[in-house]
């Protein structure tokens, strides 16, 4: 027995139950050393699966600056690859998931 609503009406954030992270064949890998923290990937991600996080501090003369790097939420990332295309630092590579690496015998 399952419970459904008429008209498939759902409350905010109920869609979090649908973990779309296993949809894609590829997943993005961020090379933190190359990431310049510009936030392009965060803006372009169609599933809001990337956010910039603080990764430390950097001294620039007298001032201190926060270092930010992109971080992927793999629970929902569908592996579309948009982030890797828009990254100006070429810091995001798409990699094939292990389950798709099998060879036909």
């Amino acid at each position: 027995m399952i419970r459904i609503t008429p008209g498939a009406v759902s409350k905010p954030l109920e869609s979090l139950k649908v973990k779309t992270g296993d949809w894609g064949a590829e997943y993005p890998v961020i090379e933190e050393e190359k990431c310049i923290g510009c936030g392009e990937c965060e803006i372009f991600c169609p599933d809001l699966c990337i956010e910039l996080i603080e990764a430390g501090m950097e001294k620039k003369g007298e001032k201190e600056k926060i270092i930010r790097v992109a971080k992927v939420n793999y629970e929902y990332c569908k592996g579309c690859g948009t982030c890797s295309v828009v990254c100006p630092a070429e810091a995001i590579k798409m990699e094939l998931k292990d389950i798709y690496r099998g060879e036909l015998k």
Binding site: I2, G7, A8, V9, P12, S15
Partner: protein
């Protein structure tokens, strides 16, 4: 009793139902329905109703989906290419269980381009989860609007309702119509009380993504709602007969049992009934069945009406290319194993006139066994040539 055109009989009835949002895009032969409503709106006769002019039928239907989700009573009218352009949205409306009421002024579909009447447009929406009732006269259309709202908004149903009226044959025709009183409609039709509605304070998603492990149940639930609609409609039809004094029958309206029964829908019903009465006076065992409800399909009612029949003639106004026409398919499905021969006769596509002589000779051919059961096109002989 007033002599009015079909457009006005619809618009007047819609006004009495106190809609909250009307949204439409003009298309022949529907246009004057929403023009009359726009006129009423401009004259301040629609209360607090919002009248939205959309950029297309797709837009009109989309606006009504949003409006209906907020709990508004909604109306639109369209036909033909307009209905098909709405179709993507209307499948969503039924899936979201929104009781939008629309009038379809039945018109053929392109190509070839035709603005004239047949039933192809609404038949193409057969599987959309929209209730479909076909009216015979402008009085019946007038009476169907409040009933459509009452059925669609019933919590056991919650599905869109399409009232089908033949383009031109009804829309443009002047007929005497007993225009309803506001008190009668107010007493019959309660305010729309949706089980759930969208507000800015309570955001909701309608028609959410359903994974394969639950999608099927949503669709089965819609099928169940259609099944429940049969009974709800029966009750509403009966209640309407009591409050208005006009009894249009149930899902079907039929005469006495006979060896040969003739089925027709929409404005053709009057002519076929009249021909059948004439043949009965000549002593022929023939009876007429007017099919009013097409979805949900009244299979049980048809089986009862066809008890004792050995032949049934279905006058079809549309095709299902590559199979038998839609009404024939459903009739055959309903009466399987009853041993009745089915004669499917396609007439009047794209506005082709269906004269009395054609109806009479068609029935006589069947009565006198001059044709075999099966599919018959009352079309001219033709050959295709390369231009």
């Amino acid at each position: 009793m007033k002599v009015v055109r079909g457009f006005y009989s619809v618009a007047y009835s819609v006004r009495l139902c106190r809609p909250d949002v009307i949204c439409a895009y003009p298309i022949t032969p529907q246009t004057e329905i929403v023009e009359r409503l726009a006129e009423m709106y401009a004259n301040g006769e629609l209360g607090n109703c919002e009248y939205v002019t959309a950029e297309s039928e797709f837009g009109a239907a989309s606006i009504l989906v949003g409006a209906s989700a907020t709990g508004a009573r909604t109306f639109t009218a369209t036909c033909s290419q307009g209905l098909i352009l709405m179709s993507e949205v209307l499948w969503n409306a039924s899936g979201m269980r929104l009781p939008i009421v629309l009038v379809n002024a039945n018109r053929s579909l392109s190509a070839p381009l035709s603005i004239w009447n047949d039933h192809q447009d609404s038949m193409a929406m057969r599987d959309a989860g929209i209730i479909q009732v076909y009216a015979e006269s402008n009085q019946e259309v007038h009476d169907m609007i409040p009933q459509a709202y009452k059925v669609a908004e019933d919590r056991r149903v919650m599905l869109p309702f399409m009232v089908c009226m033949d383009g031109y044959k009804l829309t443009h025709a002047y007929e005497p119509v007993d225009l309803l009183d506001q008190e009668i409609v107010d007493g019959f039709l309660p305010a729309y009380d949706p089980p759930v509605k969208l507000t800015t304070k309570k955001p909701l998603t309608f028609g959410s993504y359903a994974t394969p492990d639950c999608y099927m149940e949503f669709r089965v639930a819609m099928h169940d709602a259609m099944d429940r609609a049969r009974k709800v409609m029966d009750n509403v039809f009966q209640e309407w007969a009591e409050v208005s004094g006009r009894d249009w029958g149930g899902h079907i309206s039929n005469g006495e049992e006979a060896e040969t029964c003739v089925i027709a829908m929409g404005s053709l019903a009057g002519l076929v009934r009249n021909v059948v009465e004439e043949l009965r006076k000549e002593g022929k065992s023939v009876s007429f069945i007017k099919l009013r409800t097409f979805r949900p399909f009244p299979a049980e009612e048809l089986r009862k009406a066809l008890t004792g029949a050995s032949k049934v003639i279905v006058f079809e106004r549309s095709l299902s290319l590559g199979s038998e026409p839609p009404v024939t398919l459903d009739v055959k499905s309903a009466i399987q194993k009853m041993g009745i021969d089915v004669y499917s006769v396609v007439v009047g596509l794209g506005g082709r006139d269906v004269p009395r002589e054609l109806v009479k000779s068609t029935i006589q051919e069947v009565l006198e066994d001059r044709v075999k059961p099966g599919l018959h096109f009352k079309a001219k002989q033709f050959e295709e040539v390369i231009p």
